[in-house]
Symmetry: C6
Subunit: 76 residues, 6 copies
C-alpha cells in the first residue's frame, strides 16, 4: 500500500487509542485480502457470529496492548 | 462512536481494573457489530457454550494485562 | 458484582500467584455468564475435552503473566 | 492442591525454564480437570492431533514468556 | 533458509513496522511449509474466510507488538 | 529430554532469533508428543492446512517475542 495510514501510534486519549487498535486490526485483514468486494461478502461470516466477534475483539485487545504501551498508558 | 466511554485506564482497585477489562472486551465486539439486536440474538451462542465462554475470558485476560500495566499493578 | 474478590494482585508465592490466575480466569467466565446452573451444565463440555482444557490452560497462562509481573516474579 | 509444586520461577538454564513452562501448562490443565483417569483418556485427543499439539505448544510459549522474563532471559 | 531476509527490526515509521510484522507472519508460515505451490493452493482457504483473515490479523498483531517494542514505539 | 538443545536465548542476528523461535515452537510440540512416527504422520494435517499454518505462525510469533526481548531487539 502506498498511502500513509499510520503516521504515529500516539493518540490524545485512551479511547482514540482503542479506535486506532481497531484500525490496526482491520488493516491486518486488508493487507491479507485487499479485495474490497470479498471483504464485504465475508462481513456477515464474522459480524453475525459470536465466535467471529470474540475473535475480532481479541485482535483488537492485542493491538490495544501495543498502542497503550506506546502512549505510556496515557498516565499524564 | 461519539460518546466518551474510556476517559482513562486508571482505576482505584484491581477489581475495578478487571471490570474495565470486561468493558474493553465488550467494546471490541460492539465496534465490530454495532447493531444491538444482532448482539442480543448472538448472546446464547457464546454465553451457553463452554468454548465461547473460555474465548470471552481470554479476551478479558488480554485487556486486563493492559489495564494492570497501566496501573502499575496497583502496587501502591 | 458487589462483593470484593480481588483486593490485590500480590501473593506470597508463585504457586499462590498461579492459583490467583485460575481465579481470574474463572471470574472472566462468570462475569460473562453469571448463571451458576448454566455454568455447571457446561462443565463437561470443556473439562472432558482436550481442546477445552488446553484453552482453559491458555487463559490461565495469560492471567499468570499479569500476576507474575505484578509480583516482580517473586524474585525476592 | 496442598502440595508445593512451584516454589520459584527461577531456573539455572533456559532449557530448564522451558521445561518449567511445560509444567505450568500441564498444571493449568490439571487444576481444571483433576481427575487423572479423565486426563489419560483425553491424551490421544490432543497428542495425536496436529491442532491439539499446536495449541499445546502455544500455551507453553505463553508460559515460557513468563519464566524467561522472571529469569531476565538468563542474560548472566 | 540461507538468504538474509531479516537484517534488523528497526524501521523508519510505524507503518513500515506494521509491514515488517506482516513479513514476519508470512515467514512463520513459509518456514513451516516451504513449498510455494502448496501455499498458493491454500490461499483461498484463509483469504476467502472470515475466520482465516481474523487469525492472520492476530498473528500480525503479535508480531507488531515485537516490532513496535524494538522501535521504542517510534516515540522519536 | 537429557540432551542440551537450548543453551542460550541470545543470537547474533534477528533472523537467527526468528529461527530459534521456530525451534522453540517445534520443541513445544515434541515435548508433548515425543513419538517421531506420530509427528511425521500428523505433518500434512497442519502443513497442508491454512488454519494449521496460521496457528503454527502464531506460536512462532509468541516465541519470537521472547527471543527478541532477550536480545534487546538486537538494537546494537
Amino acid at each position: 500500500m502506498t498511502d500513509t495510514w499510520l503516521p504515529s501510534l500516539l493518540t490524545a486519549t485512551p479511547q482514540e487509542g482503542f479506535e486506532l487498535a481497531i484500525t490496526l486490526s482491520r488493516r491486518g485483514v486488508k493487507y491479507t485480502q485487499p479485495d474490497v468486494a470479498t471483504l464485504k461478502k465475508l462481513r456477515p461470516e464474522y459480524a453475525d457470529s459470536a465466535d467471529g466477534l470474540t475473535a475480532a475483539s481479541q485482535v483488537i485487545a492485542l493491538n490495544f496492548q501495543t498502542v497503550a504501551a506506546a502512549n505510556n498508558y496515557w498516565r499524564g
